[in-house]
Symmetry: C2
Subunit: 323 residues, 2 copies
């Protein structure tokens, strides 16, 4: 999966972050091997990019920013390994998952190890505010993960419930990435608040787009077979909207029940076709756009024209991306 290197200026610093990510996971042989497997699978490194961008609003210091950027990417990675255990996923980013190449237990401890390594690096920064913000986000993330399990195949869930879940699961960590970049370099607190708002809204749009891609993308684009969410019973926004369509609701519920009964080990193309026939895709796209607009709005009170333009570009990229 392609790293998000839209910005020539950041490339050198992002290369350094990448190198520090590799350095961070040294330890026991097996843990190093499983963590390396995860790192090599790549990723957009969206959180480190946001940290560095946030750092542009204070006295930019790569050493300080690295100690936030690397932990945030590690926390994201650790949550993915634990997610794969829950989702019983065999591939992610086009690579075998740790739980599939090794097993669930090794995946669980790999996640624990990566979480701990993240903390070891971030605690090198003396600012207690950073640790408080980060630990609160981790609590919310773990609640969001549990909510996801509980909502599997819950076809009665509201749009609001979906929003709360993706807020915890995705948006908060992205919000915190933007915010902590600024906090790490002692930026004006007004800026870090606006960056949080920007990140939160971009994060919401990002997850909606992720859920759309799972329905509309190709395996090559998304690194795993499309329809994975439906197979796992992860009821996403386009599905909730599709279930509100009187003509689609009946047959879609029928399909979802069948998929549930077969534990997702079946063809899901009928369900996907039904969703695409409804207004679900379009309505979800519209909501993602509204979040992007809110994100852009949050930028208005920030200085630094150039970094703002880059943040705008990322926001637009999020809803147009195909990976």
């Amino acid at each position: 999966m392609k790293r998000l290197d839209m910005f020539g200026l950041l490339k050198k610093d992002m290369d350094y972050i990448e190198q520090e990510l590799y350095r961070s996971i040294s330890g026991d042989d097996l843990l190093h091997e499983t963590s390396l497997h995860l790192l090599k699978a790549g990723g957009k490194r969206l959180r480190p990019v946001f940290v560095l961008m946030g750092g542009k609003f204070g006295e930019y210091d790569l050493q300080k920013l690295m100690r936030v950027a690397v932990p945030l990417e590690l926390i994201h990675m650790a949550s993915l390994v634990h997610d794969d255990v829950i989702d019983d996923a065999d591939t992610r980013r086009g690579q075998l998952t740790v739980k599939s190449k090794w097993d669930n237990k090794i995946a669980m401890y790999t996640g624990d190890f990566i979480y701990a390594k993240a903390l070891e690096i971030v605690t090198q920064l003396p600012n207690p505010e950073i640790h408080q913000i980060l630990s609160k986000a981790m609590v919310e993330m773990s609640i969001g993960e549990m909510e996801q399990i509980r909502d599997f195949f819950n076809t009665g869930q509201s749009v609001r419930r979906y929003m709360l879940r993706i807020r915890r699961k995705t948006a908060l960590l992205i919000a915190v990435s933007c915010q902590l970049g600024a906090v790490a370099v002692d930026a004006n607190p007004k800026y870090s608040r606006q960056l949080y708002r920007y990140g939160y809204n971009v994060g919401m749009a990002f997850q909606i787009q992720d859920d759309l891609l799972d329905l509309c993308g190709t395996e090559k684009q998304i690194g795993k077979p499309p329809g994975s969410d439906i197979r796992q019973g992860n009821i996403t926004l386009p599905v909730i909207y599709a279930l509100q369509d009187k003509e689609i609701r009946g047959p879609l519920l029928h399909e979802l029940t069948r998929i549930h009964e077969l534990n997702g080990e079946c063809d899901v193309s009928t369900a996907i076709s039904l969703i695409k026939k409804s207004a679900g895709i379009q309505r979800a796209e519209e909501l993602a756009s509204r979040y992007i607009n809110k994100a852009l709005d949050a930028l208005s009170e920030l200085p630094d024209y150039k970094t703002k333009r880059n943040l705008k570009d990322i926001a637009h990229f999020v809803t147009r991306r195909s990976y």
Copy 2:
């Protein structure tokens, strides 16, 4: 399981810690339920006791000490829930485990939630040293847990390898509990170093005694069927010593292979008898005593006669306990 309330003086403060432990786990309904189940199963609360004792060597402040004691007990609890997933354990402390009452996935996220809650509380303290010490210990713990998986049924492992594993798995967190109690109240660094040494050696003895109890205790005493370690393939010190006995080695290896082949779903009383016939139990007891002596030795440079006497009592309790 009985709380370690040997000290009238600590009882009131330990009641407060207990109350804060219960308060700490509020959150999503299901996570609250699973965490509550864990808390209610009890435990000796050894780590909080050590934190409070460490706090006696500086300006004792229960509010500060709570913010170390509660997180340390939570980290211990979280590691136990994840352990139960690995060990496929149905009971612990005489109660059903989370993975058994709910399932492995819920146990995994319960652990993640409790880890995050621990961090949320400890980050209320501004002292970066505390966070650095704690995160390093968490990294080591997760490495120790992975080592344990890798050493399952490894009958060729050395005593040294066993020591390294229990150091990471148990002794470091106990060492850090003693140390951080002192650090939290700004005790003389000389004292916190000695407390670390005390805790480390008590922790080693504690784990050896735990492993002995698994072989020699009754189900009522230890809250789970004896021989659980052997069934899981966890090769403990008495077993390693027993394997050094020329007469015992052959039949014991044969039994361990049989248990491995049956995935531990069999009677292990022959193996236990063989170990008891060897000098393994006695030699392990002797080593535990040597660690206790080192722990007592570490106390010699500390002031406060009364707290020292209490710490001596705990050290002696560790090798004599039957729960």
